[in-house]
């Protein structure tokens, strides 16, 4: 029986309750393959293929004036994907399920884009408030709606990622918490259900990372 259903999301460890669980964010540094030789090994090559694939996807979306920013979005994708994917393994902490981490990823991005856009391209930012082709009567409401949707963007990015991760992990923990107190046949059914859930979860992990980076790219390309 579980003391608390959410105890898997607790970053506090038992070593003087230091929040050492956050060290799972370093997994991406350790998994990152080092290039010692000229010809990449298979692990290197897999990383290179994945990065190239994501880079190609993001490259076509960014503004031509911000040509170097596809690096940061690709990096964000790899970081979030590794964090999500590693969190699926039994005892590893999912750091991207905490708002503190996802918000600290999305808020600086959005703030920097906003500050840069509003300081340099004043008119353009105002023009984005009203989408093309609205009838003139609706314009005041459109401005309100657009500005609100713009303001909540960091919140949506952060909450989407955190909520997806929390939901998935919660489901898995719930189903597997029946494990210790059930017979062997029930355990086999449970394992079957868990396999389905886990396949869904791994897909969700990768997709959420993708969504995060794509949206950040799109937001950045809206600024001239």
């Amino acid at each position: 029986m579980m003391t608390n259903l959410f105890s898997i999301f607790d970053p506090a460890t038992t070593i003087f309750t230091l929040p050492l669980n956050w060290m799972s964010s370093f997994m991406s540094l350790i998994i990152l393959p080092y290039t010692f030789w000229l010809i990449p090994s298979r692990t290197n090559m897999m990383w290179i293929q994945l990065t190239n694939f994501i880079n190609k996807e993001l490259k076509i979306l960014i503004n031509k004036n911000a040509k170097g920013s596809n690096i940061i979005f690709t990096t964000i994708f790899m970081f979030i994907m590794i964090n999500n994917f590693m969190g699926l393994f039994p005892y590893i902490f999912t750091s991207s399920s905490h708002m503190s981490m996802t918000l600290s990823l999305s808020l600086p991005l959005w703030m920097s884009l906003m500050i840069f856009g509003w300081m340099k391209f004043y008119n353009n930012m105002f023009a984005h408030m009203v989408p093309m082709g609205t009838p003139s009567i609706l314009m005041p409401f459109m401005v309100m709606i657009e500005s609100i949707s713009n303001l909540i963007r960091p919140g949506t990015l952060a909450i989407r990622l955190a909520a997806n991760m929390i939901a998935g992990h919660l489901l898995i923990t719930l189903i597997s918490s029946t494990g210790p107190s059930s017979s062997t046949i029930l355990i086999s059914f449970m394992v079957l259900a868990q396999i389905l859930l886990l396949s869904l979860e791994s897909a969700v992990a990768i997709i959420q990372a993708y969504v995060f980076s794509i949206l950040s790219t799109l937001y950045s390309s809206e600024i001239k």
């Binding site: 000229l38 039994p90 597997s176 886990l198």
Partner: protein, 236 residues
């Protein structure tokens, strides 16, 4: 004399020693890349962990150690079979299926990419070498062609020398002919003069002799001739 030799050897020694040292160690200590990773058993456990047990316990040693250790951990509940464990079971089955099914195909695709990448580097190097060798070949051919030019010039020189000699000989012949003509002319003049002089002399002598023949001489000559004829007639 010998001391200078010793001094020179002493100067050369550190250079040779440094050269030998840098040649041997710089080439020998280079890290070599392994082609395949270290062998692992059951996909993750390194083979060395197994071979440590073999001298003391034999082949079943590591497995007994593993079973004993896990039994101890489970029974003392140092390893608690809680909810995460069942998640681990599901993940283990999933990972097993995925790796067994997709492992070889992914490995083959990655191998293809690696070989293509290496092939690009290798081909650029070999093509560069090939083009340089072709340049060397072309250079040699050009040199051979230049040698041919030398022969051509030599032939031309000989040709000109022959022509010079031919004209020389022609001129020599012309000179000879001219000189001979002039000399012949002189000779002919002299011959003509002599002939004329001779003819003139003969004419003069004859005319003078005819003039000096008196009539008595004529009669005496005639009498003589008749006497000679009378002496000769009876003999015939």
């Amino acid at each position: 004399m010998l001391s200078r030799l010793a001094l020179r050897n002493a100067q050369l020694m550190p250079i040779m020693a440094r050269g030998a040292q840098s040649m041997s160690s710089a080439a020998g200590d280079r890290p070599v890349r392994m082609e395949k990773p270290s062998p692992v058993r059951h996909g993750i456990i390194p083979e060395e962990w197994f071979t440590i047990f073999y001298p003391k316990t034999g082949v079943t040693g590591p497995y007994m150690f593993g079973i004993g250790l896990s039994t101890y951990l489970l029974s003392k509940e140092i390893y608690v079979l809680e909810h995460e464990y069942y998640t681990g079971v599901s993940i283990f089955i999933m990972a097993l299926v995925v790796i067994k099914k997709l492992g070889p195909t992914v490995a083959a695709a990655l191998d293809k990419q690696i070989d293509k990448y290496e092939g690009d580097w290798e081909s650029s190097r070999t093509e560069n070498m090939k083009s340089l060798e072709e340049c060397i070949e072309n250079e040699k051919k050009e040199q051979w062609r230049a040698d041919g030019q030398k022969l051509l010039i030599q032939a031309k020189k000989e040709n000109i020398v022959m022509q010079l000699e031919a004209t020389y000989r022609e001129r020599l012949a012309t000179v000879y002919n001219e000189v001979k003509k002039r000399l012949d002319y002189q000779v002919n003049i002299q011959a003509v003069e002599r002939r004329l002089a001779q003819k003139q002399m003969v004419q003069w002598i004859i005319s003078n002799v005819l003039k000096s023949i008196t009539p008595e001489q004529e009669k005496a000559n005639l009498q003589q001739c008749i006497a000679d004829l009378q002496s000769l007639a009876p003999r015939a």
